[in-house]
């Protein structure tokens, strides 16, 4: 142990006696660890912001997605609604959703956005409220009224922030009356939940020439009932389709699970790419260590003459290599940390500094020192003391 500490001190000494070279040697590891920490931080940051948005949807939301093609055998909104009515204790509300891209036009200004066709219950199911005006009413759906609710981004963009309730807007060329403004949910950013419009589902069916509604959202009265409701929804749909591949029933928790799996794979892949620079750094270490062994042949000879065994020399050089890479790792972690701080501070991207990854990165960088130091260290330990002492 004492010998370990001394070898450590010797390593620090030889690093300090050759600052520039030590720094250049470390550079590969610094950049590698920096990249890994930054990439992992960014991946985890974006996962977190997506996860947060999904969780906003609530855990008592169940979505049904019809994927089957056959039109003669299909579940209708009415069928589902009567099914929901039978389970009023468990299911609070059901809303069909028919989404498509549309072009809005006000005066000469146009804007492409997402249109959602739905019913009055959508406001219950998705917790969507209006900040002014009213939501869609059942009569709008029944009478196919050309009314529309707009998100705050659209108000900002097409109406320069003025309350547009009562005004006319063209959706794919047809004139609609704005009856309400949706409450702000995502800082009025483009392509967020605030960049969308809501129309009665019957109107949307006509506008998009699409009679079949494939998406439904329903809200259970209690999140604990979610699994049970999904179970009998599945049973109900299976009776209609006789085939499990034609529909999907899922809730937010499942969606989160899937998302996590995907982002974990993605994180690992990106970190793997960043890790390639660590290997390059390791080869740099090996190169410099080999030079260093040659340069210090005489020192090795002296140490051997006065009683150093092979093991002593091996340990000394391995510790030197791992101290260099370990220091490089620490510097890389600090840079990675600063990168995440700066990205967050200037709101460029969401990044999270992950302590477990930092610890892992440090272990990896020390490991690189050991792995790539092994060959030079073993070469040093095998030097013949007589020849080493004679070396000029």
């Amino acid at each position: 142990m004492a010998q370990f500490i001394l070898a450590f001190k010797m390593a620090i000494k030889s690093i300090l006696s050759n600052k520039l070279r030590s720094f250049l040697t470390m550079l590969g590891v610094i950049i590698g660890i920096w990249a890994v920490i930054a990439v992992v931080g960014l991946a985890q940051g974006s996962t977190k912001s997506i996860t947060d948005r999904l969780q906003q949807l609530g855990t008592n939301l169940i979505q049904i997605n019809i994927t089957g093609r056959g039109s003669n055998r299909n579940v209708t909104y009415e069928q589902l609604q009567s099914f929901v009515d039978q389970h009023q204790d468990d299911i609070e509300a059901l809303a069909p959703t028919l989404s498509s891209s549309v072009t809005l036009k006000v005066g000469t200004q146009t804007h492409d956005t997402t249109m959602i066709g739905t019913t009055a219950d959508y406001s219950v199911v998705r917790d969507v409220n209006v900040s002014s005006g009213r939501f869609i009413l059942p009569i709008d759906v029944d009478k196919r009224q050309k009314v529309v609710l707009v998100g705050t981004y659209i108000v900002k963009k097409l109406f320069s922030g003025q309350n547009p309730v009562g005004q006319k807007i063209k959706i794919n060329g047809q004139v609609f009356t704005i009856v309400g403004v949706l409450q702000e949910r995502a800082n009025s950013q483009e392509q967020s939940d605030d960049d969308q419009i809501i129309v009665p589902v019957t109107v949307a069916q006509r506008l998009t020439r699409n009679a079949i509604i494939r998406n439904f959202a329903l809200k259970v009265t209690d999140p604990n009932k979610s699994d049970a409701v999904m179970q009998y929804l599945n049973d109900f749909l299976y009776k209609i389709y006789n085939d499990t591949t034609s529909y999907r029933v899922f809730n937010t928790a499942q969606l989160l699970d899937t998302l996590n799996t995907v982002t974990q794979t993605l994180t690992l892949m990106l970190a793997g790419i960043a890790a390639i620079s660590l290997i390059v750094g390791g080869i740099g270490i090996m190169n410099i260590m080999l030079v260093s062994v040659t340069e210090r042949t005489r020192e090795i000879g002296i140490r051997k003459a006065i009683g150093a065994k092979r093991r002593n020399i091996l340990v000394q050089f391995l510790i030197e290599a791992s101290v260099v890479t370990g220091l490089g790792g620490i510097v890389g972690i600090v840079f990675g940390f600063l990168t995440t701080v700066i990205l967050n501070r200037f709101k460029i991207m969401t990044a999270v500094f992950s302590l477990p990854w930092a610890v892992l990165a440090l272990l990896i960088s020390v490991g690189i020192g050991i792995v790539f130091g092994l060959f030079p260290a073993s070469k040093a330990s095998k030097l013949n003391p007589i020849e080493a002492l004679r070396y000029e």
Binding site: A2, Q3, E299, I302, R303, K304, A305, I306, G307, I386
Partner: protein, 225 residues
């Protein structure tokens, strides 16, 4: 103390065998001060390497301090060098990044001795060579003579049975050289066994016994009166 029996060291140079040592028999007792004298190429360096356990003979028996050491492994030889032999080299061979004290401590580190004991022993050894005021100097801050004294302190610090000095004055001016020889004489007077390897008759004459070597064989072995 040292007993060399029928030692041969043969190097292969292409097809021919070169006899660096050609049947050397030598016995050195405790507290002797022996000079091994010979021109370059005489085999004296080979002899020093074998006595110093840096190398093993091709054939023959070498008994050092009661142990047969001619057939040991590299690691065992390292251990013997560490405990039985104190080296003093012509080039001083100090480690440049270490202070005088740290250089002297080095052999004790490989023995696994505790830090406080190491410091004490190293300081004592440096005092014996008259360098107690240069403990924290690095080799290049010291004169040649001082560096060689640090090297002697390093050789002394483990209290080895033999101090083996290879041309210790070869890189020094005559005044420093005389000082170094004086230290060897004092160490001898204090009971140390010293083997000095040199090509210089005047240096050899300061020892108590001269062993003259030529072409790998001992050609003269006499006491100095």
């Amino acid at each position: 103390m040292i007993e060399l029996i029928d030692i041969y060291k043969i190097y292969k140079m292409g097809d021919t065998d070169v006899y660096a040592l050609n049947g050397v028999n030598l016995k050195i007792e405790k507290n002797e001060f022996v000079a091994i004298l010979g021109p370059s190429g005489s085999g004296k360096s080979t002899l020093m390497n074998i006595i110093g356990c840096l190398d093993t003979p091709t054939s023959g028996t070498y008994i050092l301090d009661g142990n047969e050491v001619s057939k040991l492994s590299d690691n065992q030889l390292a251990e013997i060098r560490n405990r039985k032999i104190g080296f003093v080299f012509q080039q001083f061979n100090l480690i440049a990044q270490l202070t005088a004290l740290e250089n002297v401590e080095l052999p004790l580190i490989y023995q696994g001795i505790s830090a406080s004991k190491r410091h004490r022993l190293a300081r004592e050894a440096l005092e014996r060579v008259g360098l107690s005021d240069r403990l924290n100097h690095r080799p290049r801050q010291l004169s040649g003579g001082q560096q060689q004294r640090v090297a002697i302190a390093r050789a002394l610090v483990t209290n080895p049975p033999i101090i083996l000095a290879d041309e210790p004055t070869g890189n020094l001016d005559s005044k420093s050289g005389a000082e170094i020889m004086q230290i060897f004489k004092e160490l001898h007077a204090q009971g140390n066994t010293i083997v000095l390897i040199t090509h210089d008759n005047n240096i050899a004459a300061q020892a108590k016994r001269i062993v003259r070597i030529s072409d790998g064989q001992i050609i003269e072995d006499r006491q100095v009166i």
